[in-house]
C-alpha cells in the first residue's frame, strides 16, 4: 500500500533529468566561452549571458523541478508568477531609481560626496 501512496509526487524520469543536465551544461559552457573568448563585449554580451541564464532557469524548472506536473501544478505556477512579478519590481525598480540618482547628481556634488566618504573612513 505504501508503495502506491507516494505516487503523488510530480513526474520525472531518468530521461528528463539527463536532458536537463546536458542542456544546462551546454548553456553554462556557451555563456562561459562567450566571456572568455571575447567574441563581443558591452551590452550585447550582458544581454546574451543573462538571456542564457534565463533559458537555463526554465530548463531546470521544467526538467529538474517538473513544473507543470503533479497535483499542485496550477498553484505552483500561480505562486511562481507572483514571485516573478515581485522580483521584477524589486530588481528593475532598484536599478531604475539608483541609475536616476546617479544621473541627476552633478559632478560637483559627486566630488563633494566622495570627499566626505573618504573623510568618513
Amino acid at each position: 500500500m505504501s508503495q502506491t501512496a507516494v505516487k503523488v509526487k510530480e513526474g520525472g524520469s531518468l530521461r528528463s533529468y539527463t536532458t536537463g543536465f546536458i542542456i544546462s551544461i551546454g548553456l553554462t559552457l556557451i555563456a562561459y566561452l562567450l566571456v572568455t573568448e571575447h567574441i563581443f563585449g558591452g551590452w550585447g554580451l550582458v544581454y546574451a549571458i543573462v538571456g542564457l541564464a534565463v533559458i537555463q532557469l526554465f530548463v531546470q524548472l521544467l526538467f529538474f523541478l517538473h513544473l507543470g506536473r503533479g497535483p499542485n501544478r496550477r498553484w505552483n505556477i500561480v505562486t511562481l508568477i507572483l514571485m516573478l512579478i515581485i522580483v521584477f519590481i524589486v530588481v528593475a525598480g532598484s536599478l531604475w531609481i539608483m541609475h536616476n540618482l546617479n544621473y541627476h547628481m552633478s559632478p560637483q556634488q559627486m566630488n563633494q560626496y566622495m570627499r566626505q566618504q573618504d573623510g568618513g573612513i
Partner: protein, 204 residues
C-alpha cells in the same frame, strides 16, 4: 472482505496524498519567498557593483575557471540529487544512499571551494570591509553558501534517517522537499555565476 477493504484504504490513501501534496506546496511557497530574498540581494549587488572606492573590481578579483568549476560541481550535484529521488520512488534504499552520498560530497566540495575563495579574498585584504562592491558580493554569495550549508546538514540527517528507517512515505516526502530545495539552490547559483562572475570577469 475485499469489497469493504477497498473503500477505506482508498480514502485513507487519498487523505494522505492530499496531506503530502499540501506539504509540498507549502514548501514550494517557502522557496518562492526565498527567491524574493535573493532578488533583493541581487538588486543590492547590481546597484553597488561599481562602488569599489578605488579598490579592485570583479575583473581583478574573480577567477572564471574557478567559478566554472564551482558551477559544474553544483550542477552535477543537482543532477545526482534527482537520481536519488528516482531511486527513492523505486524504493531502492542502497541507490538512494549512494546518490545522496555523491550529492553530499559534491555539495561539500562546492562549499569548500567557496570558503577557500572567501578566505583568499579576505587574506589579500579584500574582505567585505573594503568596498560597497565587496560587501554586496559577500552578502549575496555568503547567503547562498549559508543555504548550501543548511542543505548539507539536512542531507546528512536524511541519509541517517533513510539508513535507519528505510523509505517509508514520510521519508520519501522529506526527500522530495530536500530535492526541491537543492534544485532551487542550483538555479540561484546560475544567476550568481552569470551576474557576479561572468559579468564581473568580462568587466561589463
Amino acid at each position: 472482505m475485499e469489497e469493504s477493504a477497498a473503500v477505506r484504504p482508498t480514502s485513507l490513501k487519498e487523505e494522505r496524498q492530499e496531506a503530502d501534496s499540501k506539504t509540498i506546496f507549502g514548501f514550494w511557497v517557502y522557496i518562492m519567498t526565498d527567491c524574493v530574498l535573493f532578488a533583493s540581494l541581487f538588486a543590492t549587488y547590481a546597484v553597488l557593483r561599481n562602488n569599489t572606492v578605488g579598490g579592485p573590481g570583479g575583473r581583478e578579483l574573480f577567477s572564471l575557471h574557478y567559478a566554472l568549476a564551482e558551477t559544474l560541481l553544483l550542477l552535477s550535484s543537482s543532477f545526482t540529487c534527482g537520481l536519488a529521488i528516482l531511486a527513492a520512488r523505486a524504493r531502492d534504499k542502497d541507490k538512494v544512499l549512494l546518490w545522496l552520498g555523491v550529492t553530499f560530497l559534491m555539495g561539500f566540495g562546492f562549499l569548500g571551494l567557496e570558503l577557500h575563495e572567501f578566505h583568499s579574498l579576505a587574506v589579500s585584504g579584500n574582505s567585505w570591509r573594503r568596498s560597497g562592491f565587496l560587501s554586496a558580493f559577500f552578502t549575496l554569495v555568503g547567503t547562498h553558501g549559508l543555504h548550501i550549508t543548511c542543505g548539507l546538514i539536512w542531507m546528512g540527517t536524511m541519509m541517517i534517517r533513510v539508513a535507519g528507517s528505510g523509505l517509508g512515505r514520510i521519508n520519501v516526502r522529506r526527500l522530495t522537499l530536500l530535492s526541491l530545495f537543492w534544485h532551487f539552490l542550483d538555479i540561484v547559483w546560475i544567476f550568481i555565476f552569470t551576474i557576479v562572475y561572468l559579468m564581473g570577469g568580462a568587466g561589463v
